[in-house]
Amino acid sequence: MTETPVLRVANITKTYHLGSTLIDKLSRDPNKHSSLRALDGVDLRLNKGEILALVGESGSGKSTLAKILVGSSTATSGELDYHGNPMPTHRSKDASRRIQMVFQDPYSSLNPRISVGSMLKELLLLHKIVPRGEVKKESIRLLNLVGLEEDALDAYPSQFSGGQRQRIAIARALAVRPDILIADEPVSALDVSVQATILELFAQLQRDLGLSILFVAHNLAVVQHLSQRVAVMYLGRIVEVADTAELFSNPRHPYTRALIDSIPRMAAGSVNDEFVLEGDPPSPFNVPSGCRFNPRCPYATDACREIDPALATVAPGHESACIRADELNELAAAGTKNN
């Protein structure tokens, strides 16, 4: 991977300070004057033309990272490069155009009082994408691109179903000709039978427009179908990154393994009963010392409670933040639990 990634973040942190009132500061309750580390040193690169999936459970910080990437939130510290150049904290109109977002909830992401046509027109004119005379033609092109017809132009969002709304939201993101799409759980609010069409649309946009897409998701089965690479997030850190097939066939972090084992299966014979992760994800207020996964990890040792492992290469293109990454396969096979 010598090519410059289209988007690269290094050591990104995001801290939220809570309880800023005087009474909270005086209070002895540690939850009241602590700060929340939503992101705790995230390194990630998005290569040109790929779909990179970012998976993790709620509270892992994946949505926070997505917000920082599109610029609707700013990182507390760290670097964010776009095509090898640092992205300014306050993005210009043109800079913000390059990275667009597709949201999870297609109901709150479209303004109920603005018609589809005038929504697209506003963006096309603001960024002078096409001359005024060609706005309608371009709007129709965008709608066709996402699988909708011209007659959607005069309609309001309330006249569409969830899946169609998501297509409209994608058309809006594409209107300003971005080269990166950040999709934050774009199918999790949709019905199963509709999900597939939206996933196919993302694959098609990647293929036909060469878009680089960061696909934030919690559904691993979806991720496995769509993405070329997967990054797994846990409590504000990336714990494993690899090509999709490699990650699912040869996970090198116990958390990834647990995620895979938790996926409900579709095939009759494939009900998994093997591995159950103990406990709930800990709160980002109170990150465990050492490896942040150690309290739930079946393979944790004393070293794991002390060393906070960084992401390290374990195979070509495969990184994991686990000090026992190399032993993991044998440990799983032996079923040993070192606690």
Binding site: E57, S58, S161, G163, D191, V192, S193, V194, Q195, A196, T197, L199, E200, H218, N219, L220, A221, V222, Q224, H225, T244, A245, F248, A258, L259, I260, D261, S262, I263, P264, R265, M266, A267, A268, S270, V271, N272, D273, V276, L277, G279, D280, P281
Partner: protein
């Protein structure tokens, strides 16, 4: 076959309108749940699956009512039963678990007391005994440190713990039927996995039957023994989970299975179902799935297909089932 624990027949749910035809949401639904059976009801949003469950629990939203049909629990007819008598069933006989436990739990009462409330009222336990039972139930659902957690308020617990509290509360009076409305949809994958396991084990231990409403086929496969697939207020297919998944006999079931990503088959192409579910007010005549069905023929648009037994214990409501799945059945 023994008397089913729950027998729903020709259940029709809808909104009564003055001077106009009633708006029918769930249309003459029939299914049985045997003792100890784990029965999944699968469907997309608007299929009427949640309303069906709520009709059993007598929790239909205002304005929506059972228009006709019968729900028999252990032989006794629930429709038309006096409200007070029916309420007495809820808790010791039938219990319900909701999708969002935060809204189902009382925010100002400690969770231990909330669990203990049912046993005190229905089982006549003393305050002390009920509190002990509550802690025991919490331990059974896998809540670590139950004695301490019993003193917590709902907002102090994570989503997974809250859902376990709901399970503990639902099972505290030893119900014979547990109604679950998307109980794990709001949870993370690893936590969903834990909660489903707990639910399954506890039902197996106590011999309770499960009616499990969800939109997630994989969750049904993981949790249930039998299922019914609902579309636009109708059951289009029902049978043993293993059989329906491996050999679907209704084009909608087939479509659902083809459109859902399967972790074990990453390279399988996802095929979505074109279009979207019909508007409740403007329901097509004939088979409700016909407008989206690639196999639809003339007859499909005129009459509702009858429910046929396509294989022992496996039912489908499709005129063309035999033709469409000819190859699959062989």
């Amino acid at each position: 076959m023994a008397t089913p624990l729950l027998s729903v027949s020709s259940l029709t749910i809808g909104i009564r309108r003055k001077g106009q035809p009633d708006t029918v949401i769930v249309d003459s639904l029939s299914f049985d749940i045997q003792k100890g059976e784990r029965f999944g009801i699968v469907g997309e949003s608007g299929s009427g699956k949640s309303l069906t469950l709520r009709a059993i629990a007598d929790l239909l939203p205002k304005g929506v009512e059972v228009l006709s049909g019968s729900i028999r629990y252990d032989g006794a007819e629930l429709i038309g039963m006096p409200a007070a008598q029916r309420r007495k069933l809820m808790g010791p006989e039938i219990a319900m678990i909701f999708q969002e436990p935060m809204t189902a739990l009382n925010p100002v009462v400690r969770v231990g007391e909330q669990i203990a409330e049912g046993p005190r009222r229905y089982l006549g336990l003393s305050k002390q005994a009920a509190a002990e039972l509550a802690i025991e139930m919490m331990a059974k659902t896998g809540i670590p440190d139950p004695a301490r957690r019993a003193r917590a308020y709902p907002h102090e617990l994570s989503g997974g713990l809250r859902q376990r509290i709901m399970i503990a509360m639902a099972l505290s009076c030893g119900p014979k039927l547990l109604l679950c409305d998307e109980p794990t949809t709001a949870l993370d994958v690893t936590v969903q996995h834990q909660v489903l396991r707990v639910l399954e084990e506890l039902c197996a231990d106590s011999g309770a039957s499960l009616a499990f409403v969800t939109h997630d086929l994989a969750v049904v496969n993981q949790t249930c023994t039998d299922l019914a697939v609902m579309y636009a207020g109708h059951i289009v297919e029902s049978g043993r989970v293993a059989e329906v998944f491996s050999d679907p006999r209704h084009p909608y079931t087939k479509g659902l299975l083809d459109s859902a990503p399967d972790f074990d088959q990453p390279d399988r192409e996802l095929v979505s179902i074109p279009g979207f579910p019909p508007n409740l007010a403007a329901r097509p005549s004939g088979c409700p799935f016909a407008p989206r069905c690639q196999f639809a023929v003339e007859a499909c648009t005129t009459a509702m297909p009858p429910t046929d037994e396509v294989a022992p214990g496996h039912f489908a409501a499709c005129f063309e089932s035999a033709r469409i799945f000819e190859g699959a059945a062989a």
